[in-house]
């Protein structure tokens, strides 16, 4: 083997190795780093785009571990100070069917990461991205948007409301099916 070929092969192998490393630890934007823009409206002049869903979202939604972590972090990062246990206070209620900035996990993820103008702080530099997804998944469970098999089942503290796995889908509250 000529030294040149050897060099090329080595370089290729090294590059391939780099590629593999990168895939594991630093997913690209399109693979869901939570950085893609999330529209806060359904109005789109010139016709509606297919709503962009984040690949990362799926692995957090409907996952019991992530949901229970989200519940823990909800108190840990003082979300509960402003939103109580979903009923709201300084911030709006999160267990009802009314959404200011969208009910999708992507919208909620964007809310927590970037903040919202009327007093929702941006937690971009406080909370790692995966934990923001966990929080977003838990927030959805407050309005009944998580399978009851996965949503948190009990409170370690004073019961503020029926546990998340028994909360009704807020969209159907008060309406007959």
């Amino acid at each position: 083997m000529r030294p040149g070929t050897a060099m090329l092969l080595f370089a290729l192998l090294t590059l391939a190795a780099c590629q593999r490393e990168e895939r594991d630890t630093r997913p690209q934007n399109s693979l869901g780093s939570g950085e893609q823009p999330t529209p806060v409206t359904t109005l789109e002049p010139g016709g509606q785009r297919a709503s962009a869903s984040d690949n990362k979202a799926a692995s957090f939604e409907a996952n019991a571990f992530h949901l229970s972590e989200g519940k823990r972090l909800f108190s840990w990062f003082n979300c509960s100070g402003c939103h109580a246990n979903g009923g709201g206070g300084m911030g709006p209620a999160l267990m009802d069917q009314k959404w200011l900035y969208g009910s999708s996990i992507e919208s909620i993820h964007a809310t927590i990461r970037d903040g919202r103008p009327k007093g929702m702080p941006s937690f971009r530099d406080k909370i790692p991205d995966d934990q923001i997804w966990e929080l977003a998944a838990f927030v959805r469970s407050l309005s009944g948007n998580a399978p009851s098999s996965a949503a948190p089942q009990r409170n370690d503290d004073m019961m503020p409301h029926p546990s998340e796995n028994r909360l009704p889908d807020a969209a159907t509250l008060g309406k007959s099916p």
Partner: protein, 625 residues
């Protein structure tokens, strides 16, 4: 404890009013005989009306000029008007004179001001100031000023985005914005004169209180006791807005403006740097002690009196010690801010008992001796009478159901805690009365020298509490307590109590379904006005509490009524209607009643408020036809 209305003896005025020409002659002769027989007695009797037994110092409550230039009416904070056109007999005829929409559907806690022919009102966030021309029919708008506060401030205001009013002095209107500005406007034109940025929303600081102007200084304090904000009171120069002095509610003596003049009455308040040593290391820096309530001023003593808010976080296990100088009251020199005395209502507060309520300055005989006192219906449930020259507690009697403490030890001055109701980490304690919102919160009472009664709008609620761990993250809540509130004994969530100051007991008390979150005003016509959270604006007899008149406004009332003489010489009564505040946050913030802990637990006691009223923001002004 259960209490029903206890009307005092029916009024005797009718006897005198019921006179005709014939018996008058006979009466005159009887009087003449009496005069000869008992001159000293008659003298005393005829003197009675001019110098009532309990009255505010004249320097702090000058004769009524028919205006309303500060929310508390005067420096003594009596909220008493000498106007008599509207009285017990004719109040039933009151009619709407005009209305005005503030354009903001949040809790309207402000008192309107009336200066000359103009009325001034401040809306909740975004804190718009309106000037209405009372000399023209329908009171058209003269000017408005929009300070455009930062929208993000709404997220760090603990309990709705309220504002408790403006103050007038020397041709200027002074008011505060939620995002931490104090602004001076030209009262005639609405042009801003200065704008001082003194609060930082990024650490959770907001301003909701009404300023008080004393000797060319605008006194302002911060809110943020639920956000780990260190409390302060600042004096700004009324001329240009620069900060003359700042007195903190926690920390070393030099920050609290405690110096050689400081002479607290009780041993528990004596010592060096107690604002540091009564806290775990560094905890005082995020320990609360905010000043978002009322200030009174005694020109004779040259002292201002102001309370301090709750210590943070609420969970008491995280801050062992007395947590000076929170949940107490300071007397200070208004020129320098130097503290003269301090008294702590709730040392090492367990239940969010802020100490910022109004203090009514009165002169009265106490056990045979004339005393300069300060009367304070306090959040922890006691009606305190303090000697305002020394801070000594003369009396502390519960004015409603209290089980969180067992009284006040008048020797040591200390509140006697009930160990059964002590909260802590991981422990659920049930049926604590009163709640975090107190037997009475910020809603100011009114005092009539004619009746000697203090008219107290208040709550009747109890709560369950559980302390939990909490992380301090600047600009986010620092509470550490799960709370859910329930109606108090009897089921009526509010009451309006007339308290006989001399007798130290209630004269009468009215039950209300919801907490009475509005202020009160009382007049020389013996009429008391207050509002309910359903939206009723009520006039009741100052003597008996009998309902004289009521009017249903568009939204629940949590504002401060005032009464004034209009440019036409007639007496008017004004109130802002618009539900909200902590008690009404369920409506103004559209909170979800299925969460018992929403709005720091208040929602659990107010689940049905959404069925009783909707948000609003309207000024109502009434007068006789």
């Amino acid at each position: 404890m259960k209490r029903t209305a206890q009307p005092v003896a029916p009024c005797v005025v009718a006897v005198c009013a019921n006179r005709s020409a014939a018996p008058r002659k006979r009466l005159a002769s009887i009087f003449a005989t009496l005069l000869l027989a008992s001159t000293p007695l008659l003298m005393a009797a005829s003197e009675a009306p001019s110098t009532p037994a309990i009255s505010p110092p004249p320097s702090a409550a000058p004769p009524d000029d028919g205006q309303w230039t500060m929310p508390a009416k005067n420096y003594a904070s009596t909220r008493y008007s000498e106007l008599t056109e509207i009285n017990e007999g004719n109040a039933k005829d009151l009619q709407v004179a005009f209305t005005f929409s503030t354009g903001v559907n949040k809790g309207q806690e402000a008192a309107p001001l009336v200066v000359g022919g103009t009325m001034y009102i401040v809306s909740p966030f975004p804190n718009i100031v309106y000037a209405l021309d009372l000399t023209k029919p329908g009171a058209p708008m003269k000017w408005k000023f929009e300070p455009n506060p930062e929208p993000a401030a709404q997220g760090v205001a603990c309990c709705d985005v309220v504002n408790r009013g403006a103050a007038f002095a020397d041709g200027r209107i002074f008011f505060n914005t939620l995002d931490g500005h104090t602004i001076a406007l030209d009262a005639n034109t609405g042009q801003p004169i200065w704008n001082a940025h003194i609060g930082n929303i990024n650490i959770g600081e907001t301003i909701t209180m009404a300023p008080l102007v004393v000797k060319g200084k605008v006194l302002v304090g911060n809110s943020g006791g639920e956000m780990g904000v260190r409390g302060w009171v600042k004096a700004l120069d009324a001329g240009d807005g620069h900060v003359v002095w700042t007195a903190y509610g926690t920390g070393p003596d030099k920050d609290v403006l405690i110096g050689p003049d400081f002479k607290p009455h009780y041993d528990m308040d004596k010592g060096k740097d107690l604002g540091v040593t009564t806290w775990p290391p560094e905890a005082w820096k995020i320990g609360g002690g905010n000043m978002w309530g009322w200030i009174s001023y005694d020109p004779d003593l040259n002292l201002i009196f102001h309370g301090t808010g709750n210590p943070g976080p609420w969970n008491p296990d995280l801050r062992p010690g007395d947590n000076k100088w929170t949940s107490g009251i300071f007397a200070r020199d208004p020129d320098t801010g130097a503290a003269k005395w301090f008294y702590q209502w709730s040392p090492h507060d367990l239940h969010d008992y802020d100490g910022i309520n109004e203090q009514v300055l009165l002169d009265m005989n106490w056990q045979g001796k004339p005393r300069k006192v300060l009367v304070r219906p306090e959040r922890n449930g006691y009606l305190y009478i303090l000697d305002r020259t020394t801070g000594e507690v003369l009396s502390a009697k519960p004015f409603g159901p209290v089980n969180s403490s067992k009284g006040v030890d008048l020797k040591s001055g200390r509140l006697i805690e009930n160990p059964d109701k002590k909260t802590g980490t991981g422990k659920v304690v049930r049926d604590i009365c009163p709640t975090a919102s107190g037997l009475k919160d910020w809603q100011p009472s009114a005092f009539s020298p004619k009746t000697g009664l203090l008219y107290i709008p208040h709550n009747n609620l109890c709560m369950d509490e559980e302390g939990v761990e909490v992380n301090y993250i600047a600009g986010t809540p620092y509470v550490g307590m799960n709370v859910r509130m329930i109606p108090g004994p009897g089921g009526n969530r509010g009451a309006f109590t007339a308290w006989d100051i001399a007798a130290q007991k209630p004269a009468w008390s009215l039950k209300e379904n919801f907490p009475v979150w509005s202020g009160a005003v009382v007049t020389a016509g013996d009429v008391v006005f207050y509002g309910t959270m359903e939206g009723w604006f009520k006039a009741v007899s100052a003597k008996t509490g009998d309902l004289l008149w009521q009017f249903k406004t568009a939204s629940g009332i949590i504002g401060q009524p005032i009464t004034y003489r209009g440019p036409d010489g007639r007496q008017y009564v004004a109130i802002l209607s618009g539900v909200g505040g902590w008690a009404g946050a369920i409506v103004s913030g559209d909170l979800d009643p299925r969460d018992a802990t929403a709005a720091l637990g208040f929602v659990n006691a107010m689940k049905d408020l959404k069925e009783a009223t909707t948000a609003g923001g309207t000024l109502y002004v009434f007068r006789l036809p």
